[in-house]
């Protein structure tokens, strides 16, 4: 079966092609094509995983390009790491497909949506199965493209279009670094294959400085893709896309690809302590900053987006502190519970008629039983409450930060863990407890047009879209008055089934690496790759972790459920900080001022220069030629005697010259 692993990405590709060509006749039925394909892929992935456990790494390649003596090949490979990732991706993708069937069923372009999802799944699976880092890069870019297309799925919203572009461009910056890193690496090792690279690194074929350079360049790619500071700005904006897309791409799979990249290139990073330090600190800083911003956001999806960034920072931090398994373990568990949270949010958004502001929600606990419970499970899991998945993986990250990092990293990790628990439960309490506030708000913050997509388009059209400059910062779209204020109710099985599946995964996924069982996942993942010894925390660390999470939850409970601390207590204490956080540290503005505007200004300057100087010289030559012609032409006045005079003068000059130069008779 493992030989047929290539079929796993091919199923979604087939779904994509089917939908591309005959999708418009299938309409709503398109979803079943995608669901079927993903179900097949999932089943195959499970089979491959079971075969891989205790089996051998399987590789199959063909020549892709030859230049000189060198050949780059493409193919697929099943390693422990990607066997695990296959399960994660196919499972999340499958449930997202199922979820979308309901969520998107009113959209006229639903077949396009499922086609995109199919192509995305194909790309993501291709990325995972890649036997060499170039193929990874190829699919890496393709998932970026799909992210672009899916974020911009509602292209008629200027915000969505701008967000899509921003997402693509920002990640592209990292990708260029990655590409350059890969190219330098290739020129050192003559191969893109993982095995050759590991061998070259471990054999000391590359000097230290170069390894650091390469590692940092490759890390740039991860920074862009996994939305790490300072390239994280695209991810919150990417929430303009449909919610299932956010769950699949911007929470569970694609954004985790950066972490995965660091994972597969891990020996390279291990060989450079500078690179590891940079990685660890980037992760820590990102985790912290993103968490602070998540504290104040009011858009349910944006809170989750910052939470995602923060959690990705955690993973990067783990990898940077030699916690290879910890990082990847958290990658897996996070995929489940974050997808769960996003889909839960999607369920809520769908139920409250596409409003996303948590200030307009509340009191959904009784109305949406399944959604509420599963969301609670997700929130507990991400907060790291025993015995849910997040507890186990986060505990390992803390362990690696403590054991291999320094006090600063560990402190930041703890603080972030506390903030995580706090903002998740802030979200939970605001959304599900208290009174429903959606009915009496006239200015509902509609941001997710979904069903009435074309209605929103009309609004946007009437509202005269803003100047679409490059630096377009997205805002919530203008107020849209909803007619239907009927109270929210639980959604159909297509939406709740995925929640249940993911919730159960969020509960059990942590058990694959139980310390009592001798860390089975660790044994599986570290097979065949030299990543050093893995740090393990002691028991007290688990209690510290739990205590921190409990404190966060308690504070949120006090502020948003009990009301014993005023909701804007901290905001009023430090209004400056609050403003800074609300405005996302003004990073978008800074980037606009520092990078975007000068570039455009330089472009304009060069254009003017091109028109006036470069082309000016050309035109000047042309004009001077024709004006010379005109001037000379004016001499041709038809006066025979003038002609005669000129020719005689010419003759005289020739004679005189000959006379002067060579004497009379030469």
């Amino acid at each position: 079966m493992i030989q047929n692993a290539w079929l796993i990405p091919v199923f979604p590709l087939i779904a994509f092609l089917i939908l591309l060509f005959i999708g418009r006749f299938l309409k709503e039925k398109s979803s079943y094509v995608g669901i079927t394909a993903l179900a097949l892929s999932f089943i195959l992935s499970v089979m491959v995983l079971f075969e891989r456990i205790g089996g051998e790494t399987y590789t199959y390649v063909i020549d892709w390009i030859t230049f000189g003596e060198l050949t780059i090949s493409m193919g697929y490979e099943v390693t422990p790491l990607n066997a695990m990732m296959l399960i994660v991706v196919t499972l999340v993708s499958l449930v997202v497909h199922i979820f979308s069937r309901e969520y998107m069923h009113d959209d006229k372009r639903i077949h396009i949506f499922f086609a995109y999802l199919g192509l995305f799944s194909f790309s993501m699976l291709g990325l995972i199965l890649a036997p060499n880092v170039l193929q990874l890069f190829i699919f890496w870019e393709l998932v970026g493209l799909m992210s672009y297309l899916l974020v911009g799925f509602w292209y008629f919203k200027p915000e969505a279009a701008a967000a899509a572009k921003k997402a693509f461009l920002t990640t592209r910056i990292g990708d260029v670094g990655l590409l350059i890193g890969l190219v330098i690496l290739f020129n050192q090792t003559g191969s893109f294959d993982y095995a050759d690279i590991y061998a070259a690194v471990e054999g000391g074929m590359i000097n230290e400085t170069l390894i650091t350079t390469i590692a940092l360049l490759i890390f740039m790619g991860a920074v862009g893709k996994s939305a790490q500071f300072p390239l994280h700005v695209w991810l919150p904006d990417a929430m303009e896309g449909p919610t299932p897309v956010s769950a699949l791409i911007h929470a569970a799979t694609m954004v985790a690809a950066g972490v995965y990249l660091v994972g597969v290139m891990y020996p390279l990073f291990l060989a450079s302590s500078t690179a590891m330090t940079v990685v660890a600190y980037t992760g820590a800083i990102t985790a912290f900053f993103a968490a602070t911003m998540a504290l104040v956001m009011t858009d349910i999806k944006r809170v989750l987006a910052y939470s995602t960034i923060s959690q990705l920072g955690f993973m990067i931090l783990a990898l940077g502190t030699a916690g290879y398994v910890a990082g990847l373990f958290h990658l897996m568990t996070h995929a489940f519970f974050k997808a769960l949270l996003f889909l839960g949010a999607g369920s809520v958004i769908y139920a409250v008629h596409h409003r996303q502001d948590i200030r307009d929600m509340g009191g959904l606990w009784g109305k949406m039983k399944i959604t509420s419970i599963t969301f609670l499970i997700g929130a507990l899991a991400i907060s790291g409450v025993f015995p849910l998945a997040g507890f186990w993986s986060k505990e390992e990250i803390l362990a690696s930060a403590l054991l291999n990092g320094d006090g600063f990293l560990f402190t930041i990790a703890l603080v972030t863990a506390f903030m995580t628990a706090f903002y998740m439960f802030r979200l939970f309490f605001k959304t599900f407890t208290g009174e429903y506030r959606g009915g009496d708000h006239d200015d509902a913050h509609a941001n997710d047009p979904g069903v009435d997509a074309y209605g929103a388009a009309d609004v946007a059209e009437a509202d005269n879209p803003r100047d679409d400059s490059m630096d377009e910062e997205t805002h919530v779209s203008p107020a849209e008055d909803h007619d239907h204020h009927d109270s929210p109710k639980e959604n159909s099985g297509f939406m709740t089934f995925p929640l249940i599946v993911l919730a159960s995964m969020a509960v059990v996924a942590g058990f694959v690496n139980l310390p009592f069982l001798g860390y089975p996942l660790e044994g599986f993942l570290t097979e065949g790759i030299n990543v050093g010894s893995q740090p393990h925390g002691e028991l007290w660390l688990a209690f510290v972790s739990l205590a921190v999470a409990g404190a966060g939850i308690a504070l949120a409970w006090a502020m948003y459920y009990k009301g014993s601390i005023s909701e804007d207590y901290f905001a009023s204490k430090a209004p400056g900080v609050h403003k800074l956080l609300i405005n996302k540290y003004y990073l978008d503005e800074v980037y606009t001022a520092v990078f975007v505007r000068p570039t455009v200004a330089i472009g304009r300057f060069f254009w003017e220069m091109d028109k006036s100087i470069v082309d000016g010289i050309v035109n000047l030559i042309g004009r001077s030629t024709s004006s010379t012609g005109r001037t000379a032409g004016r001499r041709h006045n038809g006066q025979l005697q003038t002609y005669g005079l000129v020719s005689i003068l010419g003759g005289i000059v020739v004679i005189a010259l000959a006379f002067v130069l060579r004497g009379y008779f030469g």
């Binding site: 020549d63 230049f67 190829i138 870019e141 672009y148 008629f156 050309v618």
Partner: protein
């Protein structure tokens, strides 16, 4: 006598043109189909050549030589042949021209002449790529000028006269420089062989320059000057900053089909000439000026991209993007590695498809909306979803998205430039990193353009525009499919090119 298949290929379009000449100009459909059939046959022949080309064999294939004329010591041969460098470009030429002919079925004005010139142009382009005699090369090179001049000048836009004359004079200047350089090389070779031998053959010339009987004649200064002159001649065609200003004018005014051919094939003649004549005959000089070439390449990339960023006209944006992309060719050549050289050739081919597609899309959009000003467009995804989709795909191919051909050439060029030997290109890393910035800029201007034209709310005046016609699918799908094929499986191209590239690079011994 059975003529060489290459000869057939080159002169077949001319025969088609002559037949078209005999058809009354009212029979528009006959003329159109005849033009399509002629170019189609040329396409088939070129594919036959592709299939029959012996991979991995060094040297020329399908070569033939015949004495053409002989005036005293001046002997000019009809010498043609194929190798891994010219074959991909020949296939590119026939494909792009055939599709351009399909794309121009909507032209109603002076149809007969249009196809007449297009077919003559085809002969000229094919001739350039097969000619191995410098005189013949020059002749075909010139033969491409006149038809393009008329295509722009008659079927062009508002400023067609200005644009066509600028094109003619500018590239004509390049040809003049080229011709003078050829003559100078001829005499230098004559002198270097102690007045014993004269030749215009590129192959023989390369041998003479590599191993002259009288080395004192070919000093470094002489060879350097010859190379620089050749470089300028081809730089105008490519075009290289600061010789690029004819290109935006020509493109903006040219009709769609002419734009496709211009960007798709004519620019490639510059790159081809640089590799074939410049690097082929004077490899040591090319290596000597590698830093200059790379510098100009990087300037092209960045400068073109920055200018494209601020364009207000969609077509001139694409034109500047061509300039930017041609920088990759220079960069690849300048690296003097097999990867870089292959990247340059890949870029020639891939940009041929991609830019033709982009120009076709711009033309199709213009035909419907009657505007090319970016700010006036918007929301086309809604009114013409298929065209918008293909536009997006073309833009992505141009951005260098993996899976499409642009990526392969960029990758190879990067591998080349970062792997360039320090003796040839001391500042390779710097160039490489700056070129990397260019990739970001490329993504920026193309995505921005796509965002402003196809995304956003639909404008009222664009409601009810007709989406793609069946005839338009032919060039769109054809070009995109080729880009995908090369991008997904570049081996089909690289195994043709590789041997030739190894041969070229091996000449640069030091």
């Amino acid at each position: 006598m059975m003529l060489n298949i290459l000869t057939w290929l080159v002169f077949l379009p001319l025969i088609g043109a002559i037949i078209i000449m005999t058809i009354p100009k009212e029979n528009v459909n006959v003329i159109r189909s005849l033009a399509a059939i002629t170019s189609g046959i040329a396409l088939v022949i070129s594919l036959v050549l592709w299939a029959g080309f012996e991979r991995g064999a060094t040297g020329l294939q399908y070569a033939t030589t015949a004495e053409w004329f002989n005036i005293g010591f001046l002997q000019i041969n009809y010498e043609i042949g194929l190798d891994g460098l010219s074959l991909p470009l020949i296939v590119l030429t026939t494909i792009v021209t055939t599709l351009a002919i399909f794309a121009s079925f909507s032209i109603e004005k002076r149809v007969k002449e249009f196809y007449l010139w297009t077919l003559v142009l085809l002969t000229g382009m094919l001739g350039v790529f097969v000619a191995l005699d410098m005189f013949l090369f020059f002749l075909f090179f010139e033969l491409t000028l006149i038809p393009m001049f008329f295509l722009i000048g008659i079927w062009g836009g508002k400023m067609k006269e200005y644009a066509s004359f600028k094109f003619l004079l500018y590239t004509g200047l390049g040809s003049a420089i080229m011709f003078m350089t050829f003559i100078a090389m001829f005499y230098k070779a004559y002198e270097a062989m102690n007045m014993q031998e004269t030749t215009f053959s590129m192959i023989r010339m390369a041998e003479i320059f590599a191993d002259p009987a009288n080395p004192d004649v070919l000093t470094g200064a002489v060879k350097g000057a010859l190379f620089l002159a050749l470089f300028v001649a081809f730089a105008i065609k490519l075009p290289v900053f600061p010789f690029h200003t004819w290109l935006p004018n020509a493109h903006v005014e040219a009709p769609t089909a002419a734009s496709m051919i211009l960007a798709g094939v004519l620019l490639k003649m510059g790159g081809y000439g640089l590799i074939r004549v410049g690097v082929g005959i004077l490899p040591d000089q090319a290596a000597r000026f590698a830093s200059l070439i790379a510098l100009l390449g990087v300037i092209n990339i960045i400068y073109g991209a920055l200018l494209a960023l601020v364009q207000t006209d969609l077509k001139s944006l694409v034109a500047y993007s061509s300039i930017s992309h041609m920088g990759i060719v220079l960069l690849g050549i300048a690296s003097f590695t097999t990867a870089g050289m292959q990247g340059a050739i890949f870029q020639l081919v891939s940009h041929g498809f991609i830019s033709a597609l982009l120009f076709f899309m711009v033309g199709a959009i213009y035909e419907r909306t009657k505007t090319r000003t970016i700010s006036e467009l918007g929301g086309l995804s809604k009114s013409v979803p298929i065209l918008a989709g293909f536009t997006l795909a073309a833009a992505m191919a141009s951005v260098g998205l993996p899976g499409l051909s642009g990526f392969v050439s960029e990758l190879l060029a990067f591998i080349g430039i970062f792997g360039a030997s320090a003796e040839i290109l001391p500042a390779a890393t710097v160039f490489g990193v700056i070129a990397g910035l260019g990739i970001i800029l490329t993504a920026a201007y193309l995505l921005w353009a796509v965002q402003r034209t196809t995304f956003g709310p639909m404008k009222e005046k664009f409601v009810g525009l007709a989406d793609a016609r069946p005839m338009e699918y032919v060039p769109m799908i054809g070009l995109l499919a080729l880009s995908i094929v090369i991008g997904v499986y570049p081996h089909i191209l690289s195994d043709v090119i590789n041997t030739t590239v190894i041969d070229i690079v091996s000449k640069i011994g030091g």
